[in-house]
Subunit: 383 residues, 2 copies
């Protein structure tokens, strides 16, 4: 099996990930922070050291600002539904957001009467910083932008966007689901107010992990209320971070796996991983250029992107192409709308969807060649 569905979940993981998880389950499956005994302390230390790792990796102010969730969706919901909006507030976002941003925003529109501007990309599929700047209004209270598109791989310039947000004095929420672990993200330098990401994609951790890192206190309302293992006597959530925003037992084995994934990235070097995936992306894009039936959607070949390429084969449904690749060639890609319908509206691909190929640190040039050969054979068979 050749796996090119890295944008959904990375695979394989470093061997250390499953090992760390098994160790957590077999050696210290106690409840972190909810008892003072040795096993609970060990679980708690694993969680705190992962907070510390994420703090350093993303240049967060302190590990208390790192909050763990089941996935990026939950982290984004905490940031968006928890944000203290008032009726009539305005949000700037883009048409390339995943449903994990768009659906909470639309909820807020319904519930609280907020107004949303979805910035459209330019003709080459890139979201321009100038277009974001123009979308600001006097009542803009939040900017929420996806760092890298899960459809085209195009990514935005977060440092420039961060500067605009800072000038406008509007908090900047970045959805880094497609870029965490692939592109450098420094919350301090890029002026990122809130950073949400999944643990099981570029960070090479297991499913069941995600986080929200918050640079300062935006008076977020907790999304979930319950036991925090601290201040049990309070009727309300405690005010302390991260307790206030992390009710219930955390996913200790998942967080241990995430810890191992991040350590792999730090050791190999994020720039090395990016360069590796970029080479595979270029190789694949160049290969596609010779195929008449294929239309690729995304930035031009010269523009750097994360390792995501989406295309259509003329006259073939995207699911059909994916099924042939899976069943005849044992190549895993993904077809459909990728939970980003507005992006497909923009690209005018909502009817057929797109075939998405995405690369990871363990994919090889030989695998890309095999995929190109397979696509060539499909083209020959159908045209």
């Amino acid at each position: 099996m050749i796996y090119f569905d890295q944008a959904a979940s990375s695979f394989p993981k470093p061997a250390s990930v499953a090992n760390a998880m098994a160790e957590a389950v077999n050696e210290y499956a106690a409840n972190p922070g909810r008892g003072g005994h040795a096993l609970a302390t060990r679980a708690s230390q694993m969680i705190e050291s992962t907070r510390e790792l994420l703090k350093a990796f993303f240049h967060a102010p302190s590990k208390r600002h790192v909050w763990f969730y089941q996935n990026a969706t939950m982290a984004l919901n905490q940031a968006l539904l928890g944000f203290p909006f008032q009726e009539g507030d305005h949000v700037v976002s883009t048409s390339f957001e995943h449903n994990s941003v768009r659906r909470p925003l639309e909820q807020l529109r319904q519930r609280q009467g907020i107004e949303i501007s979805y910035v459209e990309p330019n003709s080459t599929g890139l979201i321009e910083v100038e277009a974001i700047e123009k979308a600001f209004k006097r009542n803009t209270r939040l900017l929420v932008v996806s760092h890298g598109s899960n459809v085209t791989g195009a990514f935005v310039d977060i440092e420039r966007i961060g500067k605009i947000a800072k000038t406008k004095k509007v908090p900047f929420l970045l959805d880094a689901s497609q870029t965490a672990g692939k592109l450098r993200i420094e919350m301090d330098h890029a002026n990122i107010s809130m950073l949400a990401f999944a643990g099981h994609k570029g960070l090479l951790g297991p499913q069941g992990t995600g986080a929200l890192i918050v640079a300062e206190d935006f008076q977020l309302k907790p999304l979930v209320y319950g036991g925090t293992g601290s201040y049990s006597e309070l009727i309300d959530q405690p005010s302390q971070w991260p307790d206030r925003y992390e009710s219930g037992t955390l996913n200790t084995p998942g967080i241990a796996g995430l810890n191992a994934g991040i350590k792999y990235i730090v050791e190999r070097g994020i720039d090395d991983i990016y360069e590796h995936e970029w080479q595979l992306t270029k190789q694949f894009l160049q290969g596609l250029q010779g195929m008449a039936s294929i239309k690729e959607y995304g930035p031009s070949l010269e523009v750097k992107r994360v390792g995501v390429v989406s295309f259509q084969m003329e006259g073939l449904d995207s699911h059909e192409v994916a099924t042939i690749l899976d069943e005849h060639y044992q190549i895993a890609v993904r077809a459909g709308l990728h939970c980003a319908p507005l992006a497909h509206d923009t690209l005018q691909t909502s009817e057929t969807g797109l075939v998405r190929v995405s690369f990871g640190p363990y994919n090889t040039a030989e695998e890309v060649d095999t995929l190109l050969t397979a696509l060539g054979e499909i083209e020959q068979a159908f045209y």
Copy 2:
């Protein structure tokens, strides 16, 4: 290390749990339901077979009614904050609820003006069915009760409570965090409308797992909005179950581990597990009776409970006792309020907290003897 903190998280787990998790991470870490390829299908099958297992285990109407969350807290929040309350609605609950029930209820009181009755236990610490029945009013819209107390181990008669709820035509939400995997729970027979539980306690799964099972459509509002891998084109959450209530990537390795945990319980037999823990509980309670300095809180020795026993040693703070047991005897117990402050108010133990000892399927009579000996030595040293 002797581990008696089973009510917080069970330990050890069956060996099959970590194995299933490692297999999920190493062999099929693809995103379930978000791609049609072979690895995604395998992940999806693991999740669906676990739904099926839970459906059968708890007598749920169908696997679509089983929704996965990071923990029981999140499941309870989905049920409570998602319930379509109107201002002035009344909820019947008990003073033995965990903060994962109490804090969401108090939020609802603040946000939506609901009224709550917390039923108090009788003088022996038992919540009486009659007291619950009396608490109903004409405007009661929901009954939420903890099956077993995480402080005293006392459990309520769910079949009788279910009958009352049915007669009153009020949905019955059961928090089975302390009883799932330990006591038989049949949603159909006991007329349970919604069942919330953790995966990492009695069910022997890993942390990072929990579920809500809903018997029928109560028009719950989703707590989290986002990608469901289905109906991506909709602005709103899809109406299909479980998609509507499960946004974002699920914790596949965790669910695989939970699957293994439940299979262990089914093979060994839940009655056998209960009987084993009950014998250990009786042995411990009998041993405590000879110790003058110890006051035990909970039902009398004749009354069956789940394997949880809480006590005070006269003049010693509960944390001090727990620390001595941990450091001098390598015995893990838990001290404090156990996220259930109202229970401690009722027991008048809020100042000092209690030392909680809780038993699991792998604990042995010898371990209980060791604990009793240790407590005897502490008593001798301090009195």
